[in-house]
Amino acid sequence: MRFTQLAVFFAAFFLPFISAISNEKLSKEASRYKGIIQLTNNNFKRILDSKREAYIVVLLTATNAQVGCTLCMELDPEFSMMADSWYKDHPEGLSESGTGMFFARADFDPKKNSDVFMHFKVNNVPRLLFLTPQGDPSSFSQINLPGEGGMTRVLAIVNTLRDATGISDFKIYQPINWGSVFVTAFATAAVTLLVKKYKPVAAKLITSKYVWGLATVFVIILWNAGYMFNSIRGSQFAGMTQDGSAVIYFMEGQQQNQFGIETQIVGVIYGVLASCVAGLVLFVPYAKQFYATDKSGRPTLSKACFVEFSLTLSFLVTLYLVYGALTGVFKLKSPGYPFKLIKFPFH
Amino acid sequence: MVPKTTPKKADVASSASKFSDTISASYKAYCKQVSGDRQLQLIDTFCAFLVAVGVIQFLFVCAAKDSFPLNAFLAGFSACVGQFVLLVSLRMQVVNSFMGISPQRAFGEFVLASLVLHFLCLHFVN
């Protein structure tokens, strides 16, 4: 009787230590998935045990397309960047001062980790939670996610973590996009070889007024169509209707805001209109001149006049229709605008 | 080894000789241009004088190791540089007058610009 009592006593005494999740165990778990512990119904109780010695940062997310959580999908690579940077510097999960910090993640799957979500009583995603060492598994605090994405958000979260844990040597490494590096190198090499091989053609291209003119006009149209807005604000490419069925091309009613696709549409409109004007000024007289004499040199003025007439008319009609489209599109963005060129039947 | 270095040396030598050739040729041409023309001689002497004055001012600041008051130094230095530039512009018009600007008009404009320049320098010296 006493022996069993002693055994039980020793077991009860040592079991917590054995079952307590040590930093080594955590780091082993983390190294299985390259620095981010994946939480499942089976292992989360053990990992979030109260006897842990490290801080744990948990991301509860749902990247399934059906859930449609855009913020989750934005946050995923940022979280991975944070965890990877931490893992790169500290593969054991320990900072210089000996404090441990680990990153964990649970991507919602009803079969594998729904218990994790229930444990934290979470019904909105994404949630970034923070557990202190020696804390109760049910006591956690939430880290606020700043609205601005990208590096600003990562740096803000890192600052919060620094304040909370006192770890000062948390450096963020932005992963090198090997794909784009390779493509750039390949393209540069290809262009250099081509230029070397076809030197006279390249020289002619570089000095050609038309090439420079088209390039300049392209750049001007791009900037006038709001390209800088997209690159500074990082605007969405296009919107979706509430039920996800159709794509919205224009942000209606918002004169100070736009989608990425609006730049492209409006850029094309400007390009067509400018080409119509250039065509009217340059192409029509050239065509008239071309058709003024036929191959044998006899003047065929009626043909030239007719060509001039039809070309001009087609340019004018295109101009009118596209300008009407531009006015209509602007009316979408600024509903109080009173002028229109074309009566749109569906508006 | 040897054939590679000798062409290189010859290259350097030839470019050096080209350099000296160019300089001597331009100097000769310059002397020829100036020799007959009193106007050009006057302009060039004035230019040389201005360069000398500017250099002296700059060296003074370097020697004194202090540019206080900066506006005075800048006024003096800009007077030299500005007047030099105006003189060179006038010289270009004397050698080869611009289309639509007679030599008298060029000189008149030069005087106007110089007056404006010196007025500004006087204001700047304070």
Binding site: G213, N224, M228, A274 | V85, Q93, F124
Partner: protein
């Protein structure tokens, strides 16, 4: 012979008469389309910045130019004061004062306020004239007239030059076009006189606007591109060197600019091109004397050497601190994330946001698609002056896309290029000379059908583009009338029954302040309202729109974000008598202080990160709320209490509905105001004025005093003496 001579004379006179008539009507259109707000409301200075310019002009007119240049303003940025004479651009004020004096001399004593209000429309006529001359140099006088017409009514320019918008841009755009006009004239002829005028108007521009850096970099860029294209000529040397020498020297005469042209990186491009120009001149001279072969080696060697020398010198001087790097305001145009991280005040200004595409169309309508067509057509001619237009277009398109405010600098070149495009179009299609020419030698044999077809073609094109031009005029008038003619000091709105009503709360409050407070009273408010308080109420302010001292602004921000007691101490330490708060919750005015509150917190957090934390002002779930769910720090903050004081009494006494944010504000959250007392609230509760309470005569802290007053007012007598334990019956 004689008849054709007189015919030519007649034609010239008719052209001159037409031009004059057109110009007169243009000027009339330009001036009248800017007068909407004067006719609808009254002749008043708009917005915020113009109030400071107006106050400075009044000082100049009353005290003379010398005192103005040496003015130390002790009624702003209390207790620091501001060396106003040396930190503003005097061009605008000096011009207004000159106009005022001039009018008085000829017997028309016009009040300085009217001179300032009508200043911008008057100068818009001059801008049209300058644009006419510039475009005539680019193409011909027909294009010039079109460009002048466009710039006279284009909303992009009108937005900053309506009557009442007495800001630097009113005169800056005029001077920009005049400087460019003289520069193009100088560059085309090489005339030293035109260069000198360009330099003098450049000096005038430097005295008027901080955006002069644009000219300082555009002209050297133009010259550099020409040199790269191999179009160096002695005319170019003469024009640029004269402009640089005289222009830079002149620009250093302005106290605010000082030695910037030789110290700051913004101006180094001009100096670099100046040096390069001298070298190219020497090289060109040498080249003319020697064979091309010999010259090539010399040229390559010397170019490489000079480039290395120049770049290393620039880097060395910047590194050792002789030359300051690019100032934050202009650097943020290249590195667009710089301002958000390092200078939040610049990032917070709404004019500094990037431009979405509707803004381009709104400001220029069909000119925006004629603009690329015009640029392309200029590419085909590609004379020296066309290179200038192209460089200006590309550079400005980028800047206009980055910052809404710079749409103003893009508008003139859009007008010029669009005018060139339409002019070329009319050159081809408005040419009816064929139908009027009498000599049969010019007329090839055309059947009647062909003649009619050609006529119809030309008429259709002319007709449709005339219709587009008319639509443009309608659009410009509509935009000016609806969007750009609001004084923003007086707000138009509608009564419940639909009749128009005016919200005049600002002037009501400022006038109260002016009439009912001591002359040396100090008013604390957020920096947006500093200039208006100084201009209309004539009281000393702590911070204003100049935003030159971030720490001082942070002090006011900290006071607004802290609880009452701390705020009282901070404000008392700065001798503040009154606090002014803008509250839009009653009528839904969206520019109120609670909407700006986060910027107050952020700016003060930048200086005191331990005491103020932005997170504390959000709800636990991260929302920015004012109702019951708001965080306690938010409810305790001074701005919350001052904005919502007595607000529920307008409703049922327990809860008030904040119309702007759509939330219910509870009286228990608002609590009691012990350290401040309300002295004035305007009609629609937009402006609220509070006075700091005097220290208690009995030495209690004001919170205790407040509690006592509330207790005694409730009628509950507090037992001070306890009933004795002894049961003594008397």
């Amino acid at each position: 012979m004689a008849t054709s001579c007189t015919q030519k004379h007649l034609i010239r006179w008719i052209q001159l008469l037409l031009k004059c008539t057109i110009f007169l009507s243009l000027t009339a259109a330009a001036v009248s389309s800017r007068l909407f707000s004067v006719i609808r409301f009254e002749s008043i200075i708009h917005e915020f910045d113009p109030w400071f310019n107006f106050r400075a002009t009044k000082y100049l007119v009353n005290n003379g130019f010398y005192k103005f240049l040496n003015w130390f303003d002790d009624r702003t940025w209390y207790p620091l004061g501001r060396v106003t004479g040396g930190t503003l651009y005097p061009g605008l004020m000096a011009t207004s004062a000159a106009v005022w004096h001039g009018l008085r001399k000829i017997g028309l004593p016009i009040d300085i306020r009217n001179v300032c209000v009508l200043f911008a429309p008057a100068f818009s006529g001059v801008t049209a004239w300058a644009t006419y001359h510039l475009t005539s140099e680019i193409k011909d006088s027909g294009a010039g007239l079109l460009a002048a017409a466009f710039i006279a009514i284009a909303p992009g320019y009108i937005s900053r030059s309506v009557a009442g918008s007495y800001d630097n841009e009113a005169i800056a755009i005029t001077l920009l076009m005049v400087t460019f006009m003289f520069w193009i004239k100088a560059m085309k002829t090489g005339s030293i006189m035109h260069s000198t005028f360009a330099a003098l108007f450049y000096f005038y521009m430097v005295s008027a606007w901080g955006g002069y850096v644009f000219i300082t970099n555009l002209i050297p860029l133009h010259v550099f591109i020409l040199i790269l294209m191999g179009r160096y000529s002695t005319r170019l040397y003469s024009a640029y060197s004269t402009w640089y020498a005289i222009g830079t020297l002149a620009s250093m005469q302005i106290p605010f600019v000082g030695f910037l042209p030789i110290r700051s990186n913004d101006h180094m491009a001009a100096l670099g091109v100046f040096g390069l120009m001298q070298v190219v001149a020497l090289g060109s001279y040498v080249k003319s004397q020697v064979s091309w072969q010999k010259f090539q080696t010399v040229m390559v060697v010397s170019l490489v050497f000079l480039l290395a020398l120049g770049i290393s010198a620039l880097f060395a001087l910047t590194y050792f601190g002789f030359i300051a790097p690019w100032t934050g305001r202009f650097y943020s145009l290249w590195d667009t994330n710089y301002a958000k991280i390092h200078i939040p005040i610049i990032a917070s200004v709404s004019e500094h946001q990037p431009t979405a595409w509707p803004a381009f169309f709104f400001d220029t309508q069909f000119l925006i698609w004629l603009f690329p067509a015009g640029v392309f057509l200029l590419f085909l001619d590609l004379k020296d002056e066309h290179v200038f237009v192209i460089a200006y277009s590309v550079l400005c398109s980028y800047f206009a896309g980055v910052m809404v405010r710079l749409m103003l600098t893009l508008t003139p070149i859009i007008c010029v290029c669009a005018a060139v495009a339409i002019s070329k179009l009319f050159d081809v299609y408005a040419d009816f000379s064929y139908f009027f020419s009498s000599s049969s030698a010019e007329k090839p044999n055309l059947s009647k059908r062909d003649r009619i077809m050609t006529l119809v073609t030309k008429l259709t094109v002319c007709g449709s583009f005339l219709a587009y031009l008319v639509l443009f005029v309608h659009h410009c008038t509509w935009v000016t009338s609806n969007a750009y003619s609001s004084p923003s000091v007086v707000l138009p709105s509608r009564n419940p029954d639909g009749s128009p009503a005016l919200i005049d709360d600002f002037r009501e409050a400022y006038y109260w302040l002016r009439m009912n407070t001591a002359e040396d009273a100090k008013v604390a408010s957020w920096w947006d309202y500093g200039y208006q308080i100084g201009g209309m109420a004539d009281r000393t302010t702590l911070v204003d729109n100049n935003t030159w001292n971030n720490t001082h602004i942070a002090i006011v921000g900290k006071a607004m974000s802290s609880p009452q007691e701390k705020a009282y101490d901070i404000l008392k330490a700065h001798d503040v008598d009154y606090v002014l708060v803008i509250f839009g919750g009653l009528i839904g005015f969206s520019g109120d202080d609670i909407n700006k509150f986060l910027w107050m917190v952020r700016i003060s957090e930048g200086i005191w990160p331990d005491e103020i934390k932005e997170r504390d002002y959000f709800t636990p779930s991260g929302e920015y709320r004012m109702d019951a769910q708001a965080s306690q720090t938010m409810k305790d903050s001074l701005l919350y209490k001052l904005s919502y004081h007595r607000f529920p009494t307008l409703f049922n006494g327990v809860e008030g509905i904040d119309r702007l944010r759509g939330q219910n504000i509870r009286q228990v959250d608002i609590g009691n105001l012990d350290y401040f007392e309300e002295v004035f609230t305007s009609e629609n509760w937009i402006v609220r004025l509070y006075k700091l309470k005097e220290l208690d005569a009995m030495g209690r802290d004001l919170h205790t005093k407040g509690e006592f007053d509330r207790g005694s007012s409730r009628g509950i007598k507090k037992r001070v003496a306890k009933k004795p334990l002894l049961d003594v019956r008397v």
